[in-house]
């Protein structure tokens, strides 16, 4: 009897070990493609610490047309902070562009929340038959690519005398319908009975929105902020079309303009541009995932 129990126990531990080994194996295989994700970041970081002579040696095959290949070292032979020094202390233009990016992203997100959160609340709580049709219309608007609306954007911006200003990028983006669906997802996850109870207690709709909706639906709002921050930090099509003056450009447009001759500078600027994105990603990954799920547009 006792023997039997022992054997059973042994079998169980054996099974457990087998399961753990299995799990570790699967984990290992799934992490493997991570190399492709880490690789560009490592190149950027190491490149930003190389001086121009070392970079020239590694990269010359690209623009010299001789038949050797690019090479790279994970540890620079002559590590140097020269590029960072030049970028951060000797070149005011980089700062201007950096703030351009920050300002545009912040203005767009702020505006989107002011406009989009109430709209999401309206869809989530007060949607009737007409609201449903409008909702479907908003879904279509969300899915139209920029190129289809580019001309109509241009026409209205031209009429309002906003071309070649940063407002030309900010204003249309504020009325994007994408964040509405993320906030909508958050509001829909609140049980309706809460609103009913508040109404019975005599609360006004505005107060229900501020005191129940906003605090309980904040996941949706935060995920709209995280997804929006990443999206608008990476914005290219709109400023490229509507802003001619390079001093008003965001960083994302300026980086590709740097030539191979200044490769070290480019690596450095790219890495600094990447830092805020990494920061937002690290802080908001949970909301990012939640947002992706909310964007599923389930009614």
């Amino acid at each position: 009897m006792r023997n039997g129990k022992q054997i059973e126990k042994k079998d169980k531990t054996k099974q457990k070990i087998k399961q753990n080994v299995n799990q570790a194996f699967v984990l290992g295989i799934l992490i493997l493609p991570g190399i492709f994700v880490i690789f560009p970041v490592i190149i950027l970081i190491t490149g930003s610490f190389m001086d121009q002579y070392e970079l020239k040696e590694y990269l010359s095959p690209i623009f010299m047309e001789n038949l050797s290949y690019v090479s790279w070292k994970l540890m620079p032979d002559y590590p140097s902070f020269g590029n960072y020094k030049k970028l951060l202390f000797q070149d005011p233009s980089f700062f201007i562009l950096f703030w351009n990016s920050i300002r545009m992203t912040a203005c767009i997100l702020g505006g989107q929340l002011l406009v989009g959160v109430p709209a999401a609340w309206a869809f989530a709580v007060y949607k009737g038959r007409a609201g449903k049709i409008l909702f479907a219309f908003y879904v279509v608007l969300m899915l139209l690519p920029f190129q289809v609306t580019m001309l109509s954007n241009y026409l209205v911006l031209n009429k309002l005398f906003l071309l070649n200003t940063q407002k030309a990028v900010i204003l249309p983006a504020i009325f994007s319908t994408f964040p509405i669906f993320l906030c909508y997802g958050g509001f829909r996850s609140i049980p309706v009975q809460l609103f009913e109870a508040a109404r019975v207690d005599g609360a006004r709709e505005w107060n229900i929105f501020l005191q129940i909706g906003l605090p309980l639906g904040k996941t949706g709002i935060l995920s709209a902020i995280v997804l929006g921050a990443l999206e608008y930090w990476n914005m290219m099509e709109q400023p490229m079309a509507f802003i001619d003056d390079k001093s008003m450009w965001p960083l994302s447009l300026y980086l590709p303009e740097i030539t191979w001759a200044k490769a070290g500078y480019a690596f450095c600027a790219s890495f600094i541009t990447l830092i805020p994105a990494i920061f937002v990603f690290a802080m908001g990954q949970d909301y990012l995932e939640q947002g992706i799920v909310y964007s599923g547009l389930k009614e």
């Binding site: 799990q23 699967v26 493609p33 950027l44 504020i174 319908t177 290219m236 980086l255």
Partner: protein
């Protein structure tokens, strides 16, 4: 809640957004529709001439072909790869790291990695270096000097960078779908003697139809953003194989050919509308 009160609340909360949409989207798009029937400069009514010109425009036709080809290859591939990763991941206890790794490219601004992409795909870049080393090692081929960006291979470079950037959210969506399936269903199937693959085929997949719809819609939305990579790596006039609809629109815009642009925008807009409605219909029918 009374109907009148509900409607009033809806209008008040909706008003700022709706006004903005009317001013920035609906009115100007109506203007674009009007312009698609007139000449660019004088504004004379020309009937459907613009549409005829657009549909005989070589650049536009190539662009449409490439864009459709790109979408038809990328979306099924992405859906499949995402599922292939999400399925084993759903069984892991600590799969958080894996999710982070796949999601991270979504956070990387395109402009920051273009310099690395160029180093990888140029004639003298890393891929050819690796291929040459493999060739030397196995002794089966010599030095490789394929250009990836100025040949037909450019198309596949775009496909790869699309997959690279978008796998993350596909995995997250599949995972959410898989973990949302009631475990009783799976347990019942297991008790009935269904093996792992049978469970995937008969229980998991049929329960993921709405997830599939979401993934297809979102990857479609994001497929238009591949223009950034294409533009940054090869400029406004890239190799023929990656000349996309987005390039056409942009070049028309730069050259102020607004009549063609208007006609093309109207066509593309209504085509997309039809696709979206069709997808929704297919999905709704399966729900019932």
């Amino acid at each position: 809640m009374k109907r009148g009160k509900r409607i009033r609340a809806f209008i008040i909360f909706m008003a700022p957004s709706f006004l903005g949409v009317v001013i920035f989207v609906i009115l100007p798009f109506a203007d674009v529709m009007k312009r698609s029937f007139t000449t660019a400069v004088t504004g004379n009514f020309t009937g459907i001439t613009n549409y005829i010109i657009v549909f005989h425009n070589q650049a536009f036709l190539i662009a449409v072909k490439n864009t459709v080809k790109f979408t038809l290859i990328c979306i099924p591939l992405l859906v499949f790869i995402g599922f292939l990763i999400a399925m084993p991941l759903s069984g892991l206890k600590n799969g958080g790291v894996v999710k982070s790794i796949y999601l991270f490219p979504m956070a990387m601004p395109t402009a920051t990695i273009v310099i690395v992409w160029k180093m990888v795909f140029y004639k003298e870049g890393f891929i050819n270096l690796v291929l040459t080393e493999i060739g030397k090692w196995t002794g089966s081929w010599g030095e490789v000097h394929t250009g990836y960006l100025d040949t037909d291979a450019a198309f596949w470079v775009l496909v790869c960078s699309y997959i690279w950037k978008n796998t993350g959210y596909t995995v997250v969506l599949w995972l959410a779908g898989i973990l949302g399936i009631p475990s009783e269903l799976l347990d019942a199937a297991r008790v009935d003697g269904a093996g792992k693959y049978k469970r995937i085929w008969y229980i998991i997949l049929p329960n993921l139809k709405s997830t599939l719809y979401t993934i297809v819609i979102l990857s479609f939305l994001n497929s238009f953003k591949i223009y950034r990579e294409a533009y940054l790596v090869s400029g406004a006039y890239p190799h023929k194989s990656i000349y996309l609809l987005q390039h056409t629109f942009n070049n028309w815009f730069v050259n102020m050919e607004f009549d063609k642009m208007a006609a093309a925008a109207v066509c593309t807009g209504f085509f997309l509308l039809a696709v979206i409605l069709l997808l929704q219909k297919v999905w709704d029918r399966d729900e019932v």
